[in-house]
Amino acid sequence: MSAVAESPTHSHSQVTENYLFNTKGFLSWALTLDHKRIGLMYLVGVMSSFLVGGLLALLIRAELFTPGELFLNNKQFNQVFTLHGAVMVFLFIIPSVPAALGNFLVPVMLGAKDVAFPRLNLCSFYLWVGGAIFFLCALFYTGLDTGWTFYTPYSSSSEFGTMGPVVWATMGVFILGFSSIFTGLNFIVTINTMRPPGMAWFKMPLFLWATYSTSIIQVLATPVLGITVLLLAAERVLKIGIFDPHLNGDPVTYQHFFWFYSHPAVYIMILPGMGIISELMSVHSHKSIFGYRFIAYSSVAIAIFGFLVWGHHMFTAGMAEVTTVVFSALTFSVSIPSAIKVFNWLATMYKGTVYLNTPMCYALNFLFLFTIGGLTGLWLGALSTDRALHDTYFVVAHFHYVMMGGTLVAFVGGLFHWWPKMTGKMFNDLWGKISCLLVFIGFNMTFLPQFVLGSRGMPRRYARYLEEFQVLHQISTAGAFVLGAGLFVALGVLIHSLMRGRRAPNNPWGAATLEWQCTSPPPFYNFASAPSVTDPYDYLPLKYISEEEGWVYISPTKSTDPQAHPEIAKS
């Protein structure tokens, strides 16, 4: 708190007004309606879930170090990968960017005081907490081993008893789904009705476009997941038989229902990450984003296409041939808007002033990993190759490149980017970059060998494997620990900044979106008066001021003082 000594009056208003300290006590956080505090609480929640899911991942990789049994038997292995998948998908990736960063950023980027429904926002946070506790207890206590997809007929088989793990886990998913729906609903309404005067749709920051598209998917797809898991629970408790072949039901129907949600959910996961990258690329290249409208439209296009391609998860499940062909063709169409984004990001960097700081390093990391993830998706979307690659490690590697190399890396990059704004502290940039390098090396070491494993026929979800696969598995396991170390370094850098970091300037990166116009951290009311809306990607009026250690708006000299312009005052 060296700042206190230097300028007592300034820091006094900082402390009383900034959202972190303006009220004190447990209840002032637990019952807060402030979107920034809710966002921060979400952040702690999703990071804890990520820690749990990550440790489980390391457990899986450690077990796979040898072909035989190391310390997990087959049943335990199934339970661990189920837990890993379910925790990562439902507790971490889906709420990570929208609920944590989105909650913090959406109103501030809009120059608004809060989201449209603050109480609903708090409600969805507690639904998330309740759902998460319920879900984790259910999974740990009952030892569910269906995989995170709860596929029938295994999940509806009598093995689990009437009120077994499937019922509890699906109830957890149901509650979490409502949390997700309410968050999405809140953002749609906020973006629609609370934009400040002057911010037309095409003057919004691209992160808001991505969040808006994500919210549409959340609102349209999640209810279907809700009814699906409800029917699955009813299947177990009431024996309704809809998914049970013994009762003339159809287990493949479950897959259709499930993927009708869960494929769009893939875009719930990646779209906000893409929104972050759009911001990071432009800000840290100090160059206006290339192809603004195309990036904005492509977010919406991905949201729409995302609803039409769920069948590509089921090519081998026994659909009609015509259906598989149609789904395959539609699947390829999703690559168009994704490619548009990647090319526009590249073009943004071209001839820009690229600052290779930690957020930008993560953005470049994203670009590399996401491109590999996206391109390998084409192998799986093509019918003929998918026949061979279905349910192999190729699939595992593909979706980890997209989900983890895409969403997680974007999330961490965004976290570094907005960390000064959220906490008012600068982090150590060198160690941030080291963490990024470790993540990059560790990630590729973990998952590149898995492409090879998959194409050579190593099936996913197997606890044991043939000795010929051992070397590749061992490289993968070693990589996983490097990756874990990198992420722990990143966590250390952030925690260190909280204790030792220097005070963050209002605008450390020279960004032009509205959140950088308020103090770091923002006051609890965000803006004293509605900020003047400028082009979110126009960096010309920003100048670096070394005393502030940050960037400041130098507006063209205008004066409203009538004495300075006597001729105007007279007329």
Binding site: T16, E17, N22, T23, L27, S28, L31, T32, L33, D34, A112, K113, D114, V115, A116, F117, P118, R119, L120, L122, I181, L185, N186, I188, V189, T190, N192, T193, M194, V219, L220, A221, T222, P223, V224, G226, I227, T228, L230, L231, A234, L238, K239, I240, G241, I242, D244, H246, L247, N248, G249, D250, T253, F257, P523, F524, Y525, A528
Partner: protein, 388 residues
């Protein structure tokens, strides 16, 4: 606008709602983060419409399941829908339609600041909802009595009437909670009356009437069922006289055998009179009709003369129909209950006279929700009860 933040927003942080913020001193209903009432109303309106979209999608999963299994097993749906009581369904449809009217009227009352009119409309809507649930309880429990259960527990003997003295034990079980509520509200009404708290007795009185309406619904449902049973017995008797006792079996299940109601028996008279020997079950007549229809449709699964009831009257047949029936109507009933809870909240606020020309959003939003719940029933009724 000005910002006396520390006091005004501090209150907001402790979660005590949005009233009474310093920066909108003259508009106590305006939340601190909105600029004007119009923005607040528009946000709420958009929010509720998006919520309704999610509701539609929520139900769409079950409508999908319905279409899927209906297209796969048309004969099952034709057979099983005979067991649903159209008269009760039609009565409930009317009740819900009327409740939509009272709800819409309530919105108008809120807009015109007619406090008493709003309270009355909300009370009527709540009452209709309770009647609906009462009738539904009668329908459900009757089916449970005769084994028309979801697929796993389906007992394939719907023609065997269940004899029990007086009311169905299931119905009594279902009525425990409304019964407790009835007593509790009555006690509360007496207390508030003694205390002379007029506003509270208004609320307690409405809630008491609502709980009573549930029992009214049960009563009406039972009466309808009796009437159906006796009319079908009457019809069966007439037929049996006309056709020399061919369908005399209908008399056997007069009280509980509502599935063999008048109309299928009547419409099937010519066939059943010609083909059937006496002593056949009550389901035979509709079965014959369905079989004839399916043969005329050239449906692939039907072999003329094969025992159709054995094919469809089983867990994986009619049982699946009842699975879908209970899922759809059950989730719908849960939405009715949810709507009632929100309406009680509105009622409390209405008695405080909180709604007026400038602020009627919550009434409007709940109204929209209620219309959607009504609309879903408008689809459920023909799909489950009427289509043969």
């Amino acid at each position: 606008m000005s910002h006396e933040h520390t006091s005004a927003h501090g209150a907001g942080h402790h979660g005590d709602g949005h009233g009474g913020h310093g920066d909108h001193g003259h508009l106590p209903f305006l939340a601190h983060h909105f600029d004007d009432p119009e923005q607040q109303f528009d946000s709420g309106k958009l929010g509720i419409w998006i919520f309704l979209v999610t509701e539609v999608l929520f139900f769409s999963g079950m409508f999908c399941a319905y279409s899927l299994y209906r297209s796969r097993n048309p004969e099952v749906f034709m057979f099983a829908s005979q067991f649903l009581n159209e008269a009760l369904g039609a009565f409930n449809t009317c009740v819900l339609l009327f409740s939509s009217l009272t709800m819409a009227w309530g919105v108008r009352c809120a807009q015109l600041r007619q406090k008493n009119g709003l309270v009355l409309c909300l009370a009527l809507t709540l009452g209709c909802a309770a009647i609906f649930l009462g009738v539904k309880a009668v329908e459900y429990t009757h089916k449970w009595d005769i084994g028309l259960l979801p697929a796993g527990s389906y007992l394939a003997q719907p023609e065997v009437p269940v004899h029990h003295e007086g009311l169905s034990p299931w119905l009594i079980n279902l009525s425990i909670v409304p019964g407790i509520l009835l007593v509790a509200f009555a006690v509360w009404l007496v207390i508030t009356f003694v205390k002379g708290d007029k506003r509270m007795s208004e609320i307690a009185g409405t809630l008491l009437a609502t709980a009573a309406c549930y029992f009214l619904g049960v009563f009406v449902g039972l009466k309808f069922q009796e009437a159906e049973a006796s009319s079908s017995a009457h019809a069966a008797h007439e037929i049996s006289v006309e056709h020399d006792g061919d369908t005399g079996s209908h008399e056997a299940g007069v009280t509980a055998d509502e599935h063999a109601q008048g109309q299928p028996a009547e419409s099937a008279t010519s066939e059943s009179a010609n083909d059937h020997v006496s002593g056949t079950t009550g389901t035979e007549a509709p079965l014959k009709e369905i079989e004839a229809h399916l043969v005329s449709l050239d449906a692939p699964k039907v072999v003329p003369g094969a025992p159709l009831d054995a094919m469809v009257n089983q867990k994986g047949g009619a049982g699946l129909f009842f699975s879908i029936y209970y899922c759809m109507t059950g989730v719908h009933a849960l939405h009715i209950i949810g709507g009632m809870v929100v309406m009680v909240w509105l009622l409390v606020r209405a008695t405080k006279d909180q709604f007026h020309e400038q602020y009627f959003g919550p009434v409007d939003y709940v109204g929209l929700y209620w219309h959607l719940v009504d609309l879903i029933w408008i689809y459920l009724f023909p799909l489950l009860y009427l289509i043969k």
